[in-house]
């Protein structure tokens, strides 16, 4: 089975970026960059399916600046077979539809010479990128490719006939769905436990096929450029919470204060 995994390079969630008035709307000095945590579940799941079936190819696609190469190389080191790098901006001003459109064009092999479409049976994405927190690109890509999707899955199994059964997280439980291939799923924590790259994996990654295409070759700027559908007015720090009270002392006295707080300030019991 051929599997495409769409990933995004994002700032590590350990660091708190400072806002900036212009694109990319944060000060990137000193930030460390990683593969979006939810995309790691997607990569892992793709590799496990390939290992189980003993055949097929895993293609990793990203939209991002030159420096996103590191994320793609990381995925190749984990065991993916080839990478497709769409060179372009991914900051907040580039909306989810624009990103999905570029991914769709790249998969269909439109507009860039020397390469045909990427064949696939399955596409996996993370449930959302932790930078823009949209959770939309995967689902929108499914729509543009006209294939079914399910968002936020925590379990995936493929039967002999190529039918897929997924579990998706809903409020208070799990929805079990069945779906023919090709299809797209967005992955949530719980799906698997992602592996770490091995040293031989890192060495092998350097020899794997790595294709580059500029976003400008895939679609005109009006379709995907900043402000095409959504523009960013401002990015700011969160309003600081009012400094609270900190109690110390005996449990009984503190509990009196707490009950008073719940009754008089929260006012819900």
């Amino acid at each position: 089975m051929n599997i495409i995994v769409c990933i995004k390079q994002v700032p590590s969630t350990e660091a708190a970026p400072r806002p900036s008035p212009r694109p990319p709307f944060i000060d990137t000095t000193g930030l460390s960059w990683v593969i979006n945590p939810f995309d790691e579940y997607a990569i892992e799941e793709a590799l496990r399916i390939k290992e189980r079936q003993g055949k097929g190819e895993v293609t990793i696609i990203t939209l991002g600046p030159e420096s996103a190469r590191e994320a793609l190389m990381g995925a190749l080191a984990l065991g993916a077979d080839r990478a497709l790098h769409i060179i372009g901006e991914t900051h907040l001003g580039v909306d989810s539809y624009a990103t999905a459109y570029l991914l769709c064009q790249a998969i269909k092999g439109r507009l860039f010479a020397g390469s045909g479409p990427v064949t696939f049976d399955l596409i996996l994405c993370g449930k959302e990128a932790v930078d823009d927190q949209n959770g939309a690109v995967g689902t929108q890509l499914a729509e543009l490719l006209d294939i079914p999707h399910a968002a936020v899955i925590t379990r995936l199994s493929v039967d002999a006939t190529g039918k897929v059964v997924v579990h998706r997280q809903i409020e208070g439980g799990t929805e079990v769905l069945e779906c023919p291939l090709p299809a797209l799923f967005t992955c949530q924590k719980g799906l698997n436990e992602p592996r770490y790259p091995s040293l031989p994996g890192i060495m092998k990654a350097k020899k794997k096929p790595y294709e580059v295409v500029p976003a400008t070759r895939l679609a005109p700027q009006e379709v995907w450029g900043p402000g095409a559908r959504v523009s960013v007015k401002e990015v700011s720090l969160l309003p600081t919470r009012k400094v609270g009270r900190k109690l110390q002392g005996g449990a009984a006295e503190m509990v009196e204060d707490l009950v008073k707080f719940i009754r008089e300030e929260v006012r819900i019991i």
């Binding site: 700032p11 806002p19 932790v130 523009s231 401002e234 900190k246």
Partner: protein, 331 residues
């Protein structure tokens, strides 16, 4: 004329509470554009839900559009997208609002892509000027806030974070607006091959409400020291009418299931009251509770970062404080 269409979510004939928040947000938008220049409609999709449609007539919508068909008994993103897109294209609705629930998050992006319009997700506030939606939403792992604006006045889809908007209140008899008219949608041309087939819903035993919807969440962290100690949090949650949540450390240790994890890799929640017990408060955890209205922290370590966001912090042993609170509430 700006038409706002609100998607009302139901499962098994029961309306999702946060759908009324979407309706409330729709009414607020309508007041901003002026009732003379706007329209507010709501859409309900399901099977045998005429009674439900009757019960939502009094929440300020002018029309309740009803897609009622046996094939729609269970949520199906293919069929739901088809019905919504068809209705929006017919009516030319400028704004489509959905609650950012499991269903809303699955459905809204697909609908927005079919319509080719702007999508604003997980909004915590909404405004409108010149027919363009403007929203505030959290970005960068919940650490920053972004003000974003749609640049296209047609087919603007927005999802609203649950508990961030006041729910629509029922309008009393004789007051304006008058109860909505219920209008049946033509569902005779539904796609016959919906591809995605529903198999089952497995509800987690003993879960009264999802942490993303609960008004009170009592959460435990590493300081709980073991799965068996969560019994006291369950008792406290029960007494307060809330539910139990957990930190990442607890879920990774296998003490509690992933679906109740609060934080970046779990769920972002906005309850009225969040009580963190034995949770130190990593940045990723705090990202999940920035929009909680009141935060109470109980922790032995006075330097724990959770105290920096807590409205009320109790420095002490949770195994003394929580039982004392339980007996005080019982007494």
């Amino acid at each position: 004329m700006v038409e706002v269409l609100v998607f009302l979510e139901q499962r098994g004939g029961r309306l999702k509470g946060s759908s009324l928040e979407a309706l409330g947000a729709g009414r607020q938008l309508l007041e901003k554009v002026g009732t003379g220049s706007g329209r507010l409609n709501a859409i309900l999709i399901g099977d045998n839900i005429k009674d439900l449609a009757e019960t939502v007539r009094c929440y300020g919508a002018q029309k309740i559009l009803l897609a009622d068909h046996p094939a729609l008994e269970r949520y199906n993103n293919g069929l739901y997208t088809y019905i919504l897109a068809q209705e929006v294209q017919k009516s030319g609705a400028a704004i489509i609002l959905l609650s950012a629930t499991a269903m809303g998050r699955d459905l809204a992006p697909r609908l927005a892509a079919r319509l080719g319009g702007p999508l604003l997700t997980e909004c915590t506030s909404l405004d409108i000027s010149d027919g363009l939606l403007e929203a505030t939403r959290l970005v960068y792992a919940g650490r920053l806030s972004a003000r974003v604006k749609s640049t296209v006045p047609r087919f603007q889809v927005a999802t609203l974070r649950p508990n961030a908007f006041p729910p629509a209140q029922a309008v009393g008899a004789g007051f304006k607006p008058a109860p909505a008219k219920v209008e049946m949608l033509d569902v005779s041309t539904l796609p016959t091959d919906p591809l995605i087939v529903f198999r089952d819903i497995i509800y987690t035993k003993g879960v009264k409400a999802d942490i993303s919807e609960a008004r009170i969440v009592v959460a435990g962290g590493r300081g709980m020291r073991g799965a068996e100690n969560f019994r006291i949090l369950e008792e406290l949650a029960e007494l307060l009418g809330g539910v139990v949540g957990a930190s990442r450390a607890v879920v990774d240790a296998g003490w509690r299931p992933q679906e109740i994890q609060v934080g970046l890799t779990g769920k972002t929640i906005s309850p009225e009251l969040y009580i963190a017990c034995g949770i130190s408060g990593s940045a990723q955890h705090l990202a999940g509770i920035v929009t909680a209205r009141h935060i109470v922290a109980i922790n032995k370590d006075p330097e724990a970062p959770i105290f920096r966001v807590a409205d009320l912090g109790l420095v002490g042993d949770l195994f003394e404080v929580v039982p004392a609170l339980i007996s005080r509430l019982k007494g």
